[in-house]
Amino acid sequence: MAKILIPTALRQFTEQSDSVEVTGATVSDALDALTAQYPNIKKNLFNDQGKLRSFVNVYVNDEDIRYLDKTDTKLTGTETISIVPSIAGGATAVEEQAPALTNDEIARFSRHLILPEVGMEGQTKLKNAKVAMIGAGGLGAPLGLYLAAAGVGRIGLVDFDVVDVSNLQRQVIHGTRDIGRKKLDSAADRMHDINPNVRIDKFDTGLTSENALEILRDYDVVVDGTDNFPTRYLVNDACVILKKPNVYGSIFRFEGQATVFAYEDGPCYRCLYPEPPPPGLVPSCAEGGVLGILPGIIGVIQATEAVKIILGIGETLKGRLLLYDALGMKFRELKLRRDKDCPVCGDHPTVTKLIDYQQFCGITPMSSEPMAASGVIDAVELKQKIDRGDKFVLLDVREPHEYQIARIPGSILIPLGDLPKRLNELDKDADIVAQCKSGGRSQKAVDLLKQNGFQHVRNMTGGITAWSDKVDPTVPKY
């Protein structure tokens, strides 16, 4: 026989007994036995739908059944079951506990309301939900559009970027007229146009170790639409620390990934990738390119997961990494497990506060600057050098398809990847200026050439983009 301890207030229904002995294989059986014996207690514990009331917690010995098998938790018959209410409050009425849907909203969301899985209850959950979106770019575009349209009540946008013409191929939340505007403003306008009731909190900043916990604390779900490793680890660690589900997506060229991290007892990003790749190994979308439609698909999958988490329906991607290949048009799935030795979400975490993620990802701008400064040339100086008729080699280290888009007159092309085996094409004593799209790859080329004994090598800062900006606007930017 298991023993159920009866709270004082309920003893009026149990003939003043402070404990009741019951038999049952599970907590559910035991509670049924209790309510069968004392029917009047039932409405205190269960609502009209037969579910435990929201304020009722059940403990078996000292364990909360929410962390065991809920009401299916098995009993051997020696347990003590306690009924403990959850209690909270505060002076201010919480604004997110907004009243039920207005008639306008009922009309707007009618196609949701007639889905029994959503209904009035679900749509009200969406209205009261708060989602933080990191980034209003490729993934942020479909996320912002669909989360606003779905009726999510409050959306926090974190972005510091400005709309550039090269964004429009995929960032469909922004338009041609928005070029030069803050992405925050452009995205918020479009989202308000779709759903005027959505409250948008704009954070005109990058997410940093200093501000992440403060910004994310107020939200229920975090959706990661970032494009770089330091921010991705930062979002992950902040979500684990704050216990917020992190809806993850990433895209590259023709392939994407999505999953849900730090949700319930599932894994986090660090369980999958404990260490970041060395800097430069994985190119960004700006360097490697991306099919414009790809973030649409991955972002919409993220939006779906966020909405499912808010509604509490379906099976989320928790513990599953969804892989998408646009060229093969295939979805695959990898199983993920929480790593009990994970430094952040493991049994004995070693990372319990936010760290320096630039450093963690091996990005140390301070130390590389002095070396770069001694061997650089900018677009204007390069133009003067050409105009003076100096004898030198302008080495373009981009890919052939980039060379087809735009080039600086007089340059020779050796893609960075081919450079090690084509060093013999270059004269070790020649005056060499290396150039790429924006200055990153050409710096690697300079380092490589110097290691191989080339004496007079300089990096062109800003690459062909700066050339177009400062010297020759007829050269297209891409």
Partner: protein, 130 residues
């Protein structure tokens, strides 16, 4: 209760009230301060850990007392039963709200919420005569 509320000001304090029930009268004989477990601004929110409440209930039982109510403070705010209080309440207990103004106790009220967390009845409160 008053002492604890003033000490914790400007945050909200919370705790359990132990005592006995005689018919319709609830007699509080002891107040047990509990930790405010709300993760965020505690100036206008509080949250009780169920474990703490379970421990308070056990402590009461071993001493022949009952857990009969919950108290919390409203710093620089009247002692009303707010929407947040109501939505996170439980009809099994009396809820005493203490208004603390500028760090000093001002007034208090007691409420008994209903099952569906939609309304709370004010309860008459009498303080012991010193």
């Amino acid at each position: 209760m008053v002492l604890h509320a003033e000490q914790i000001y400007p945050s909200e304090c919370c705790g359990a009230m132990l005592g006995r029930i005689h018919g319709k009268t609830k007699l509080v004989t002891e107040a047990v301060p509990l930790e405010n477990a709300f993760a965020g601004q505690q100036h206008d929110r509080y949250e009780l850990r169920p474990e703490d409440l379970l421990a308070a209930d056990k402590a009461a039982r071993t001493r022949g007392l009952d857990l009969i109510g919950i108290f919390h403070s409203h710093p620089d705010c009247d002692a009303y039963f707010s929407e947040t209080d109501l939505k996170n309440s439980c009809p099994w207990y009396s809820f005493v709200v203490l208004s603390i103004q500028n760090g000093k106790f001002n007034h208090a009220n007691s409420f008994l919420p209903d099952l569906d967390q939609t309304a709370a009845e004010p309860e008459e409160m009498k303080w012991p005569k010193s």
